[in-house]
């Protein structure tokens, strides 16, 4: 099942996504939390912490800059750009900050 959270910036989207992911995991589901926002803060709302979230974003950035190896499969990407978070949620950061639209 795939759920996406949408809305204007600053509306509480990320906070809801993070809390929802943790809750679904606590209820016994295997959960992948997928950060596609250009301001990737889902890790913070998940409870991964600001530092770890920034590390994951940096890994993603390195790929865009050609410093990290491209992963041939989606599964490879999940491992390379992901990290385990609280309650067993797997966090995956896939934002492309360098291509962020202003505003």
């Amino acid at each position: 099942m795939k759920i996406a959270v949408a809305g204007k910036g600053g509306v509480g989207k990320t906070t809801i996504a993070g809390t929802l992911a943790r809750t679904l995991a606590r209820r016994g589901n295997e959960v992948l939390a997928f950060d596609a926002d250009v301001n990737p803060m889902l890790g913070v709302s998940l409870g991964v912490g600001s530092e770890r979230t920034e590390q994951l974003v940096a890994v993603r950035q390195a790929l865009d800059e050609g410093e990290a190896e491209h992963q041939p499969t989606v599964e490879g990407m999940e491992q390379a750009f992901g990290a385990a978070g609280p309650d067993g949620v797997w966090l995956l950061v896939c934002s492309r900050i360098d291509r962020a639209d202003p505003g």
């Binding site: 996504a17 992948l32 596609a36 926002d37 301001n39 912490g49």
Partner: protein, 130 residues
């Protein structure tokens, strides 16, 4: 990328980029549920109105009224979005959630018993596959 991720019995929760960009690119079958979040402000309601219209073409849509302080807030959002999809998921304004955000903490850790987190827990129960 969203389309390529396999569900395989798990639940994928995707935090989309702000605005409408990603929703416009979602194709049928790539997404089961779109949670469209609005708060009682004119701009967020306008974005939500468009998001609901776009997402309805490819997936089930639920409207979430966030940071709600009163019934009037809910009605403002319902009317502004021109929502005809039944119940709106109401997430009450919760100062402890706001504080957790400011401090870089997960609301579910910092304010687990507050009305904000409780409302999202209720939402999770609605979404869970049977």
């Amino acid at each position: 990328m969203l389309g390529e991720l396999e569900s395989n019995g798990r639940i994928v929760v995707c935090d989309l980029e702000a605005g409408l960009g990603t929703l416009l690119r979602v194709q049928a079958g790539q997404l089961d549920v779109a949670l469209v979040v609005a708060q009682p402000t004119a701009k967020s309601i306008e974005v939500a109105r468009r998001a609901v219209r776009i997402a309805s073409t490819t997936s089930r849509v639920m409207l979430i009224a966030n940071r709600v302080r009163s019934n009037a807030d809910v009605e403002l959002i319902r009317e502004g979005v021109a929502w005809e999809g039944g119940d709106i998921v109401i997430v009450p304004d919760d100062p402890e959630v706001a504080r957790a955000d400011e401090e870089g903490l997960a609301p579910i850790d910092a304010a687990p018993n507050g009305p904000g987190v409780r409302a999202v827990e209720a939402l999770a129960a609605l979404l869970e596959p049977a």
